[in-house]
Subunit: 434 residues, 2 copies
């Protein structure tokens, strides 16, 4: 059969992995695709950079336009980050008649509406398995394997960096800062890890999954999103004492026909599989009204796991599956069935930590504010101050678990709590999974 | 778009579930398939039987030939069991120009070579997601999501009935017989549960998965297969004392370029996710050379989980994905890359239980035989006989864990051990997962 000629834009970590497998195992890829797949052109920023994949010099170019203009290229693999230039390049690729494979979830989250609509108008397809949860075929699950279902809930660990940091802290008794440094040394966290550790990355992935699973178009700003960057080892230890592990959980689930969405560090019972997800692994639990509960896990980050997802999309493009699937997906610009539950109404149990100055009446102040907001307390832990004689400058942590309360109640209470002069720093809040 | 007209053969548990969703949620299915799916004809054995799905009387027939002969039916959903008549019907459906969806793993395991070859000759497709692991999209994973990988190992709990029985025994302190009865009451086990509990069902599924994952054509007789039907509550308790759960594990993995395959009750370390798979859930751990370790789980039995898989295949047929995928699958009649590791050579650690008569020299006899076969012992547990004064008729269990030994060594030793007059019954043997 005629070879499929592909162009690649970006030869970074993931691109390098894809190029490696395509060039080292052409036989395997050809067998699965039923045709040879030829890497025709690769656009890179710096032609002189040393790379660990060996490509013929003549296919490398530092002009993206060379990929866009090559009429022989049917499928472009777009592996650059960001949402500005990446958007322009994708629009140009689609306009030039190319189908596009991408791993850029930020781009799809921010400009998906425009890009997917444009692709449909032009009769082109976009495949993006690699944009969520690396090696886990979760996009394919929503796109075809669970086609008979109405998904009723999904919940998952979608950010490998955060999960690695939490695992290091819990298993090796490391501080947040130590664990983050380790993640950076191992290449699991960027020099600027903000989007990973503040929950944004997981929230963007949740936006994409919620589109596919529920036909719901939500922006990250429409649901509560917090990260692990305010947590301390003390929080993890307190959770452990209570029988929980802390995980950065992304949740979207139907509650009374509204879609509740949130991303937050969450206390997960020790004996649940989600608590067992270690290191850079991701996991997604999906419940459908026909299939019941299903579970997917795999490495969510790293060169090869993500390359595996990109390769699956390339093979799907070569076989023609992607082109059939793309028009059937519930995507931006398509139908919207459910509304997003307003943030204020979301009900959860919460874990709170206060760094209280060791003074009289602090606990009374805290519990008074919670009580006035009708937040009922399930348990309180306050240990004796480490100093023999407590003084006004010593700080003691106070841990409170609440019964169910709304995000609205909690936010109102928090605003008041954070005014208390007897607290050294803002209150730390996590959800408790039920 | 033109509706896809389908015919169904068999309206039992799974068929009833499929018909229910097709008739109760036609909108959902149409959206995913981009065309209406119409249940045109359903062949049943007994037209007068009361059913819990409401179908118009005119689409029911008791003649399979009506489905085969209907030129408007493009896709047949073949949901009858057995390997005799089912084979003939499938050949007739293919010859009549129909693509076929089936959940019959026994049929594909026994006659896959003939059926898949015939389908290819005729340009037809067979889809069989529901034949392995119910609601888990494991066929799709091998068929497309992991297309960039050489799978290096797969291991899984593939029989829900056995896993339900083992869970009941372990959690509720039930005997094998009590747990089996409970499984039958709940509809998880057939009146004749032999194929489920003796490992055959899991072995047939392993044969299919090994085809897809490794391109290896093996018959069930070519690898060791044992079931849970000889286990006692005592075995599970002894395993628990040692820090293990007992699971019926199906394994296929590459060892020195040979494919090692086996199905056996296996001791799995308590802290591993596989040990946590409960009740009728199935789970499959797949390792690929690109993606690393991935994990899939979901309900492996029951009306709706299996119906979910059948519906995915029907939608794939309606969209045209199955027709593209089928020719790319490494299936019977295709390439065979790896040879099956000869049974005698398979290396494992083993758990052994002997019901020994409480006489002098029994342990010496056992250990002597093991020693002569160069099977080295890792640990022995023999508790005091419950009677105050032991006598020649009291039976004491002796538990032995071995270091790694080959299946050949073990079988030879077992043949001698089972001759020992001091043993009340044949030795019970399980693998220990490493």
């Amino acid at each position: 059969m005629t070879p499929l000629k592909i162009g690649m834009i970006g030869l970074g970590t993931v691109g390098g992995g894809v190029a490696k497998i395509l060039t080292q195992h052409p036989d395997r890829i050809e067998r699965r695709a039923q045709r040879p797949i030829v890497l025709q052109r690769v656009a890179v920023r710096d032609l002189t950079k040393k790379r660990d994949v060996d490509l013929p010099a003549e296919i490398l170019t530092d002009r993206v336009q060379d990929v866009i203009d090559d009429p022989e290229i049917d499928v472009a693999v777009q592996l650059i980050g960001g949402t500005g230039q990446a958007r322009e390049i994708m629009l140009a690729l689609l306009a030039a008649g190319k189908d596009v494979v991408t791993a850029n979830k930020a781009l799809l989250c921010e400009h998906g509406d425009e890009l997917f609509t444009r692709a449909r108008e032009l009769g082109r397809s976009i495949a993006f398995e690699a944009s969520v949860a690396g090696g886990i075929p979760i996009i394919a699950a929503f796109g075809s394997a669970l086609a008979g279902n109405q998904i009723t809930s999904l919940s998952g660990i979608l950010n490998g960096t955060s999960n690695f940091i939490l695992t290091e802290m819990a298993d090796k008794n490391q501080t947040y800062e130590q664990a983050l440094r380790r993640a950076q040394e191992l290449g699991y966290a960027e020099a600027d890890p903000a989007m990973d550790v503040d929950g944004t990355d997981a929230a963007q992935k949740l936006v994409l999954l919620s589109q596919l699973a529920f036909g719901v178009r939500a922006a990250v700003a429409e649901f509560p999103c917090s990260g692990i960057d305010t947590l301390t080892l003390e929080d993890l230890k307190c959770a452990a004492d209570l029988g929980y592990m802390v995980k950065l959980l992304a949740v979207a689930r139907l509650v009374d026909n509204l879609l509740e969405m949130h991303v937050s560090p969450t206390l997960v019972r020790n004996n649940l599989p989600m608590a067992d997800v270690q290191g850079v692994f991701n996991a997604v639990k999906v419940t459908g009204d026909v299939v019941g509960e299903t579970w997917f896990s795999g490495q969510g980050a790293g060169q090869l796991p993500t390359a595996s997802a990109v390769l699956a999309d390339i093979v799907d493009m070569a076989v023609g599956r992607s082109q059939l699937t793309f028009p059937t997906l519930d995507l931006f610009g398509g139908r919207t069935t459910f509304s997003v539950q307003p943030t204020d109404k979301i009900l959860s149990k919460f874990y709170l930590r206060f760094n209280a100055l060791d003074r009289p009446h602090v606990l009374a102040d805290i519990t008074d504010i919670l009580g006035r907001h009708e937040i009922s307390i399930a348990s309180v832990v306050q240990h004796e101050s480490p100093e023999v004689e407590s003084n006004n400058n010593s700080v003691v942590p106070v841990f409170i678990m609440t019964h169910r309360a709304t995000e609205g109640q909690m936010r109102a209470a928090e605003a008041e709590l954070n005014q208390l002069k007897s607290l050294q720093s803002p209150c730390i809040r996590m959800r408790v999974a039920e």
